[in-house]
């Protein structure tokens, strides 16, 4: 294991300290299943700067978690395969790195928080063991030193009586506390990029707010880049700087958080916003997007959203689908009729 410590991350070929901490370009992932090939991710691109929060928004099954797993390099393969694109960490394409170096990037430079902390933590080891493991295997620390660092980490994420609780098993923690343990584990090695995959979905609303506040605080302290994957428009509005909206494995709109809420430029985003209950519109009927997202084995030709879209015309049903139109210098939309959609407001 000690050889692990010797892999120098500074020596990554082509590492450029001034490049963005994470940049995903035209990522493509497919799942080869018995029922055919599912195109889970079809050309996703986004980037995130240090200290910035990039939200990736979309319904379940739109490919956002798969994107996160592809970035971490923990896709179950088979059936999942990355068939194209680049994932750049400070200018280094992670997809081209040998496995030993790739592994060192995980947790050290790019870390991840999972949705359900109960199943994401190993039930048969104490949280102390699972935290200390990172220091022992990546930093070559002794068991004792690593344990001490584990206690510090639990303190950092504000778990009371950290010294005693470090010897507890995951199932002895409450949901919110478990998610704090997950956060501690992700932050242990001071990563530059943190990917949070639905970090609060499994929690109560009050606990959700605490966890998001903690994440924001730690992000600021460390000037970390945060990729927040969620389906919750409310969470996004509070913490995100920029948003990528995903539908059927594609980014269909990208913009700053204020732009999107003020004037969505894609009918899907618009539909999502209209389906949020609002106090000022009390009494009016809530509009919902009709239909269901397409099966990824069977994405309709043209724009994947066309069967559910009220703006759809013949051009939307023809291949190739809409390109990413430049709405303003800092925002894009994959809709032929983005002007109409945006102007409707």
């Amino acid at each position: 294991m000690s050889t692990d410590v010797n892999v120098k991350l500074d020596a990554l070929p082509g590492l450029d300290p001034n490049a963005l901490p994470l940049e995903v370009k035209n990522l493509q992932v497919e799942f080869r299943t018995r029922n055919g090939i599912a195109h889970a991710v079809n050309g996703v691109s986004f980037d995130v700067r240090a200290g910035e929060t990039r939200a990736i928004l979309g319904e379940s099954g739109c490919g956002k978690s798969v994107t996160a797993q592809a970035i971490m390099g923990i896709l179950d393969s088979p059936p999942g395969f990355i068939t194209g694109g680049e994932i750049l960490y400070r200018g280094v394409d992670l997809l081209k790195l040998p496995e030993a170096q790739r592994r060192k990037v995980r947790a050290n430079r790019i870390a991840m928080i999972f949705q359900d902390a109960l199943s994401a933590l190993n039930p048969v080891f104490t949280v102390g063991f699972q935290l200390a493991e990172l220091f022992r295997k990546h930093r070559g620390m002794s068991r004792q030193d690593a344990k001490a660092r584990a206690v510090e980490l639990l303190d950092l994420v504000k778990i009371p009586a950290a010294k005693q609780r470090v010897n507890d098993y995951p199932h002895q923690f409450s949901g919110g506390m478990r998610q704090r343990v997950m956060i501690a584990m992700a932050l242990a090695l001071d990563p530059e990029v943190l990917i949070a995959d639905e970090p609060t979905t499994a929690l109560d609303v009050t606990v959700q707010a605490q966890i998001m506040a903690l994440l924001a605080e730690l992000q600021q302290e460390r000037n970390m880049a945060l990729v927040l994957i969620t389906h919750d428009m409310g969470v996004v509005a509070d913490v995100a700087d920029r948003i990528s909206v995903m539908y059927a494995g594609r980014v269909i709109e990208e913009a700053g958080v204020n732009d999107i809420y003020a004037s969505p430029a894609h009918p899907y985003t618009k539909g999502l916003l209209e389906s949020i209950p609002r106090l000022d519109l009390k009494g009016q009927e809530l509009s919902a997007i009709k239909g269901l997202p397409p099966a990824l084995t069977n994405i309709p030709p043209g724009c994947a959203f066309n069967p559910r879209c009220r703006y759809a015309q013949d051009v939307c049903r023809q291949n190739p689908g809409p390109p990413l139109y430049q709405v303003t210098p800092s925002r894009t939309s994959a809709c032929h009729f983005w002007r109409e959609v945006k102007g409707d407001e």
Binding site: R34, N35, G291, L292, P294, A295
Partner: protein, 314 residues
């Protein structure tokens, strides 16, 4: 849980509910597959599975040997003459003759009956009794569960073979009925445990609560809403247990506490000729082959059934 729910709904004959039309609207070609019920799906998968089909055909053959031996042979297995002892297979006597000079093929055909009869009777008994007790224990819980579970523990603590030997030795009458009885006594707790677990897990499903809320009687809840969920695992287990009972009958016979000559059974064939294996291997080959084939077929059918009925394996 949702798997169980859909299985229950499908078995109960209830319509699949609101997602029918939406599935059709969005998934085109795939829609038919998904809205089909679990059982129809399983049946389709099974008839396409060559392993299952071959195993089922084999069981059909052995079953017909047991039910109508005259269909397969016109020889009388008891027409023996010692001057034909251990003569090898020939065209008229495909399995040759055994130690006592009886036609071995006829013996093998007639030998299928006791194994199959014992296995089928014992399995039916454990399914009915074990299933009912498991259902009661799981559904009512409390002291009913405590008593039934403790009794199950008691029978569980007797290792199968040892228990069977004790019972058959003290009973001293070793025939089809007592062997069936002993196999039943020692095996019912397993099926009761399976049903109990399944009932406990489906008892708390929302649609059961819903049925209770609209005032369904206990018996209706049990048999219409809770039991159907338990049928799939029970069916799988029952198929496999048929195979182990065939093997158990032969084993007990081999040990001398099962059927006794001059009855015909595969176990007797094997135990009577074990020492002639090297000189006349066919004397062991035929009964062993038939026996292993039967057990194997039941196990393979059980495995295929489990794969077909468990949505996880799709």
């Amino acid at each position: 849980m949702s798997d169980l729910t859909s299985a229950g709904a499908a078995v109960g004959g209830a319509p699949v509910g609101g997602d029918g039309p939406t599935t059709e609207a969005t998934t085109g070609g795939d829609g038919k597959e998904r809205s089909a019920s679990l059982w129809a799906d399983a049946r389709r998968q099974l008839v396409r599975d060559p392993v299952f089909v071959i195993a089922a055909l084999y069981i059909l053959v052995v079953g017909s040997m047991a039910a109508f031996p005259k269909l397969w042979t016109s020889q009388d297995p008891r027409a023996c003459s010692t001057d034909r002892s251990r003569i090898g297979p020939s065209w008229e006597h495909p399995f040759g003759f055994d130690l006592l000079g009886c036609d071995y093929y006829a013996h093998a055909i007639y030998g299928a009956r006791p194994s199959m009869v014992i296995a089928v009777m014992a399995t039916s008994a454990i399914v009915i009794v074990g299933g009912l007790l498991g259902l009661l224990a799981g559904y009512y819980g409390g002291w009913v569960d405590t008593i039934i579970s403790r009794v199950m523990d008691i029978f569980f603590s007797l290792p199968f073979l040892l228990g069977a030997i004790v019972f058959l030795t003290v009973i001293k009458r070793q025939n089809i009925w007592t062997i069936t009885m002993v196999l039943f006594l020692l095996a019912w707790p397993t099926i009761a445990r399976i049903i109990r677990g399944s009932v406990i897990s489906s008892k708390d499903l929302d649609y059961v609560h819903a049925a209770k809320a609209v005032g369904a009687r206990n018996s209706r809840l049990m048999f219409r809403h809770v039991l159907p969920n338990a049928i799939a695992p029970m069916l799988v287990y029952a198929t496999i247990v048929l195979g182990s009972f065939v093997a158990a009958e032969a084993t007990l016979t081999f040990l001398g506490v099962g059927l006794q000559p001059p009855a015909q059974s595969w176990g007797i064939m094997i135990s009577a000729h074990q020492v002639y294996f090297l000189e006349d291997p066919w004397l062991l080959l035929f009964p062993c082959g038939l026996l292993i084939g039967t057990v194997l077929s039941f196990i393979l059918m059980g495995d295929a059934l489990r794969d077909a009925l468990d949505p996880k394996f799709r």
